[in-house]
Assembly symmetry: C2
């Protein structure tokens, strides 16, 4: 067995300190997944990810299926070899992108028919197909196809999506297990995704139904899509209360720096978000004092690093004044430096959170982060 | 004296192997200057330039004058500190950019009046101002302001530009020497620029006039702007035949990989060109076999590095298939990897050329390069 998950410590609130073992290395939990949509974390070489200590990244099934294609990647030895990344990789199922990016999508019980946002070509994504693509990519962790709906959703729509998500999860699991059994050694873990919109009872029902399918890990999906943070936490708590203690829990698509510790406190072990990388490209950098909108003219003569408390290679060398200039001049290096720093910031938050769990002061860490990030940019 | 230039060896054709000592390190000659227009070599962190072994880079006076401004850079400790680059820096005079980028330019004997291409603001660039800006930037080597004309130019226009270029060089030199004397220690070298379009006698006249001004180094300007390579070489030879043997010679804005050795054979010690960095961003990479247009579908499954004979960190890790995918997907990392390789390729050409001079086989190197690059992309 190439995979395992161990919880070393659980805090009174439910925060867990553990480790996830994959065929591509051990990942300390809780962890954050930098997003590498098209097999690249935008503006970072894999060497930079290694320097930053990233142990796992996320890649998007929808994007890689459309371009360059999962069959090409399989032929070239799988995603790790294709992108020359020896750390772990998680792939999403493509469901969220089909619902948010693709055109003319039509959902049936069979799957989702859609047109590519790249060339308009028509495709059918079924639970089996999503599993097949991810097996071809060879990611360490694969996600089942779920039905993503808009928030806020009426109850009948949430119920219908929940029913379909469970049925798709069943088919995903069956297909995956058949493939896994056929090939002998298990090279991938497949996670289920709990849906249920903002209805507590539906969230609990979804969790219970998925637990019956015996996934090695569970994600909470369909949250942080516009609802208040308190609602995200409430729904997450409903789910984590039911999930097995010995399996990893993944809250998809979160979060803002000050929210991360809240999710960890609710028992979440894994998170991913485009925020640090996307914000960096828009000249928003994160610091121990709060957000800094580095293009602001107030930084034109600022000789300090982005964050004086930061030990990343960007903060050790470059000034705010220089970074501000690079953004003003539209230089590619601006995105490179800002992304490097922001990913470091997120990975460092996780390091601090893991330490806070060990020393029993996660609440204090969370309060400080909220205080720093409650106001607008500094 | 912080500056010196020594020629260790001269080949029968006139190629020189030497070294240029600056306050920011020794630069082996002949050398190539990667272009860092706005105080950044596009898509490369300064760490990458160090890894690549770049000993000197070029920055553009016109761009830095307009944004962020030379006074700001001086206030922040000069260009080296501003961009955190401890190697040598050469700045052009801004003349070429005023003539190629700015709007509504009007040339008088006093200088060039122009509108910024950024915000339409009006500026007057005089020989004294160009020198003042470069002293504020604190580059190691500054260039005098010259009048750049379009090629092919009629003789009367070339004569007029030559007359003005010499007069401006005289004023530049006078202003610079006054400043240099005032401040005591010399922190910069100022180079003259030979003009004369494609007229041999004008080129010789320009060289003679500038020699009287006793610059520590001389550039050949206004070439490689559309005329045939043979003409570039002919004009360059006319000039280098007259220039002093103990002073560096800089051919501005060249060249293509296969042309570099030709210029060195004519006695050129320094060159700069946007080609390796700009071509990289347009998915053209240089290899020991010739140009590779990496977006071509023929590379979709190519598991080889960009250049199997290359030792750069990109070629040691990434495949053509991956780079092709990154370009197809519009990923920022594509430009980062391609630029890194192309700059390595150019710096490596210079290393090979220096070695070829030492071993007396520059002609062979040149023939091989022409053979490889004579045809279209491989």
């Amino acid at each position: 067995m190439n995979f395992s998950f161990e919880v070393a410590q659980t805090s009174p609130t439910g925060a867990r300190r553990g480790r996830l073992t994959t065929p591509h290395g051990v990942v300390q939990t809780p962890f954050f997944l930098p997003v590498g949509t098209a097999a690249s974390v935008k503006a970072l070489r894999q060497e930079a990810l290694e320097e930053l200590g990233a142990e796992i990244i996320l890649a998007n099934t929808y994007h890689l299926y459309l371009r360059p294609g999962h069959k090409l990647i399989r032929k070239l030895g799988g995603l790790h070899k294709f992108m020359s990344w020896s750390g772990a990789i998680l792939t999403d199922s493509g469901g969220y992108q089909v619902f948010s990016l693709a055109e003319l999508r039509k959902i049936t019980d069979d799957g989702v028919r859609f047109r590519s946002h790249l060339d308009g070509s028509e495709h059918l994504l079924t639970p089996e197909k999503a599993a097949e693509i991810q097996l071809a990519l060879g990611s360490d962790i694969a996600m089942v196809l779920d039905e993503c709906i808009e928030t806020p959703a009426p109850r009948d729509k949430a119920e219908s999506a929940l029913r379909r998500t469970t049925e798709w999860a069943r088919r995903s699991r069956a297909y995956f297990q058949e493939q896994a059994n056929r090939d002998g050694e298990l090279a991938q873990w497949q996670f289920g995704i709990v849906q249920g919109a903002t209805f507590s009872d539906l969230r609990r029902e979804s969790a219970r139904q998925l637990l019956e399918l015996d996934f090695p890990g569970y994600a909470v999906g369909g949250l942080a899509v516009g609802e208040p943070h308190a609602m995200t936490c409430e729904m997450t708590a409903e789910v984590t209360a039911l999930l097995l203690r010995d399996r990893p829990r993944y809250l998809m698509g979160v979060g803002r720096p000050e929210q991360i510790a809240d999710y960890v406190a609710l028992g979440i072990d894994m998170m991913d978000c485009v925020l640090p990388t996307r914000a960096a490209r828009h000249a928003c950098v994160y610091t121990s004092e709060g957000r800094v909108l580095i293009k602001n003219s107030r930084y034109a003569q600022d000789e300090r690093p982005i964050d004086s408390a930061c030990s990343c290679s960007v903060c050790r060398r470059y000034t705010r004044a220089y970074l501000r200039h690079l953004f003003a001049a539209g230089e590619l290096t601006a995105a490179i430096l800002a992304t490097h720093h922001n990913v470091h910031f997120y990975l460092d938050i996780m390091r601090q959170i893991r330490e806070a769990i060990e020393f029993g002061n996660l609440g204090k860490f969370s309060s400080e982060m909220h205080a720093r990030y409650a106001a607008g940019p500094v």
